[in-house]
């Protein structure tokens, strides 16, 4: 293992290289570009072994190439974001439906129009129903660690679902920070060569992509759903195995911070959690009983874990960097629906923030904590959804 200062994208590229993909296919789009540029350099210098690097003409083809490669048993990787992920949308469902364990990095970014190259989660959130596992990293280290784990989770024969590691665009992809890059030897031991499951093979001809008539289609959905439930356990197990090998705790499907004696909690995903942890520490010193809940696995969604984590809390603030237009933040909806069936329910309030790259400083976190403490004190949610940093003056 080597600790060095690396750009998040370069760290991910290193991780991908360590996973020895057989086929990489991607299409450039900000802020994913640095990942594939670095992989291109590796490739040009012959450092990716026999890996085929397919520079396609669109994201639709990028994911389709990964699908084809995976179908013959190759380990396939892609990376995209925003408009690119949207163009892939059709193929995403197809890859999951055909049960191909493709892994991709999503460098989360807002969707057009207006065109915006900056970071929020709308792209991946909008693909949440596709049957892909979605893990959200907090920093470059987690981006590296989750990437390596993603292949292992996805390729397990009891899972066989594609997995997406979501890393916040720019905030992780373009930030230089200290990262520990594992050794090839350790990664090889952790992640052996892919064992293909029923590949396309003239020796044993089988067909993929048959029509799913009304008699069977529903069952295909059921099976993926059932597998998603299994994936919950798998994600935790693989995390524990990773921790044993590499010494870094990986948490479960969620992670909690200073929650034990907390009265309120702030809940979110991705890189903003880092700033939120800092604020929790500062507020704790000021005597404010606040804790933090991190959702690491967005799909499958950690319903039970969240139910358990919120026990004893008076109120939680859910921060979404996305919005299901016409309703509310997607994470907010999910958290509320998870709690509906449980006995003890804290008050829940949603906050839409940091869309399209708007900065998310400590002051915003403090604003949200102040507000949720007020909710806890008053014992009721005044307004279900707040936009704490909205610039009303330009509306």
């Amino acid at each position: 293992m080597v600790k060095k200062v690396l750009e998040g994208s370069h760290a991910v590229a290193e991780a991908v290289k360590l996973c020895k993909p057989d086929v990489i296919s991607a299409y450039p789009i900000t802020p994913q570009t640095h990942i594939i540029e670095r992989l291109s350099e590796f490739h040009a210098d012959g450092e990716l072994g026999n890996c085929q690097f397919i520079r396609v003409e669109s994201e639709h083809s990028a994911m389709s190439v990964c699908l084809g490669a995976s179908l013959v048993g190759a380990r396939a990787y892609s990376a995209s974001t925003s408009q690119g992920l949207a163009l892939m949308y059709e193929v995403l469902f197809n890859v999951a439906g055909l049960r191909q364990p493709v892994v991709m990095t999503t460098a989360n970014r807002a969707l057009s129009a207006p065109i915006n190259i900056w970071n929020d989660w709308q792209d991946a959130i909008s693909a949440r129903d596709s049957g892909w596992i979605q893990l959200y990293a907090e920093n470059a280290q987690e981006a590296v660690d989750y990437t390596i784990q993603a292949f292992k989770i996805a390729e397990s024969h009891d899972i066989l679902l594609p997995a997406m590691v979501c890393i916040d665009g720019f905030v992780i992809t373009h930030t230089y920070e200290v990262v520990d890059i594992p050794s090839q030897e350790d990664v090889d031991a952790f992640l052996p060569k892919k064992v293909p499951y029923l590949p396309l093979d003239p020796e044993n001809p089988i067909g993929y992509g048959m029509i799913g008539t009304p008699e069977v289609y529903e069952e295909t959905r059921y099976l993926i759903q059932e597998t998603m439930e299994k994936a919950k356990k798998k994600i935790v197990e693989v995390g524990q195995e990773f921790e044993k090998k590499f010494g870094r705790p990986q948490g479960g499907l969620i992670d909690t911070y200073k929650l034990e004696d907390a009265e309120v909690a702030i809940l979110s995903m991705g890189a903003i959690l880092q700033t939120m942890r800092e604020v929790v520490d500062n507020l704790r010193e000021e005597g404010v009983p606040v804790g933090l809940i991190k959702v690491k696995s967005y799909r499958p969604f950690p319903k039970d874990e969240i139910r358990k984590a919120v026990e004893g809390l008076k109120a939680i603030a859910v921060i979404d960097r996305d919005i299901s237009l016409g309703h509310e933040g997607a994470l907010f909806t999910d958290v509320k629906s998870a709690l509906y069936g449980s006995g003890e329910r804290p008050l829940v309030k949603g906050y839409i923030a940091a869309l399209g790259g708007r900065d998310f400083p400590e002051t915003t976190v403090r604003k949200i904590v102040d507000d949720i403490i007020k909710v806890a004190k008053e014992g009721k949610v005044d307004k279900e959804v707040e936009w704490p940093d909205l610039r009303r003056e330009i509306l």
Partner: protein, 299 residues
């Protein structure tokens, strides 16, 4: 109502954010002199879109829409169809402007559909031979041997390994009334071709060679010089094709060796370092000679 060349029309306002010496910016300014002001622009995601629309400003003095990266031809087709349905098409030029990536790669399907359906649209591809907006990645229009960030020269790579896809020929295969190539090195020729095109009914396609300062990596004062070198070596053929037949070509008076063109740009610098590069240069010379023969560029 014929559109006239309007040399006084500044369709692209100054103050846009292109790099100094940007070939694409020159192209757009000239194109709008050729279309005149009765023009609606559909523009693809790419450098032109980004440097002309820094919120809250917009450098276009004609109606303008940017939708997405891959759908410009179809959006232009919709504009044309809408105008027709409303009885307003007469006298209005519908012009699509997209880069090489937006045309040769991700937008090719959309372009082909628009051309095939026969929309009265002029589609202009400004060809700076890579994805510049996102930081110089290869496109299908990147020439053989050039380095980009996704086709870097390396221990086992000479840079771009594939041959430049020539979209003008693909457009011509749609049997459309007008296809032309042009270059920012020859402004008057470009303006005239644009003007000729907007006065022809039906789908038209013009591919404009447009050097990019950081992408091709040369001093910003050399844009026109480099554009002309591409023509004088035979690497960038300039011609018109009407209804599938070549009707005019810009002749090369004195053929220059490709080295002169390649040497002027750092994107080819690696080719001058070793034997491997030398072979690539020989290949590139063959491509130029092939163009000269195919398009009859020399008497």
């Amino acid at each position: 109502m014929a559109s006239k060349v309007d040399m006084d029309f500044e369709g692209l306002a100054s103050g846009h954010r292109a790099c100094a010496g940007c070939g694409a910016a020159i192209a757009v300014r000239l194109i709008l002199k050729g279309t005149g002001k009765n023009t609606i622009i559909a523009n693809a995601t790419g450098c032109v879109e980004v440097f002309t629309t820094p919120y809250p400003e917009c450098a276009w003095n004609v109606p303008y829409v940017h939708s997405l990266f891959e759908n410009t031809a179809a959006v232009a087709a919709g504009i044309e169809a809408g105008l027709k349905a409303l009885g307003k098409k007469e006298g209005i030029n519908v012009v699509a402007i997209a880069g090489d990536g937006g045309t040769a790669d991700i937008g090719l399907q959309s372009l082909s559909g628009m051309l095939e359906r026969g929309h009265d649209v002029l589609y202009i591809m400004y060809d700076n031979e890579a994805y510049m907006n996102t930081g110089i990645q290869r496109s299908a229009s990147t020439p053989y041997g050039a380095t980009t960030t996704t086709s870097p020269a390396g221990k086992v790579s000479i840079g771009q390994e594939t041959r430049k896809k020539f979209v003008a020929e693909i457009a011509a295969a749609h049997h459309i009334p007008y296809v032309a190539t042009a270059s920012v090195g020859y402004p008057r020729d470009l303006i005239n071709k644009v003007n000729k095109a907007v006065n022809i009914k039906g789908p038209k396609f013009i591919q404009v060679h447009a050097p990019c300062v950081p992408g091709w990596n040369y001093p910003e004062s050399k844009t026109v010089e480099i554009a002309r070198l591409a023509v004088e070596t035979g690497l960038w053929p300039i011609f018109e094709m009407e209804n599938g037949v070549i009707t005019s070509v810009r002749k090369i008076k004195e053929k220059k060796p490709v080295e002169e063109y390649l040497k002027a740009q750092r994107r080819f610098a690696h080719l001058f370092k070793d034997e491997r590069g030398k072979k690539v240069i020989e290949e590139i010379q063959k491509l130029a000679d092939e163009n000269i023969k195919r398009y009859g560029l020399m008497d």
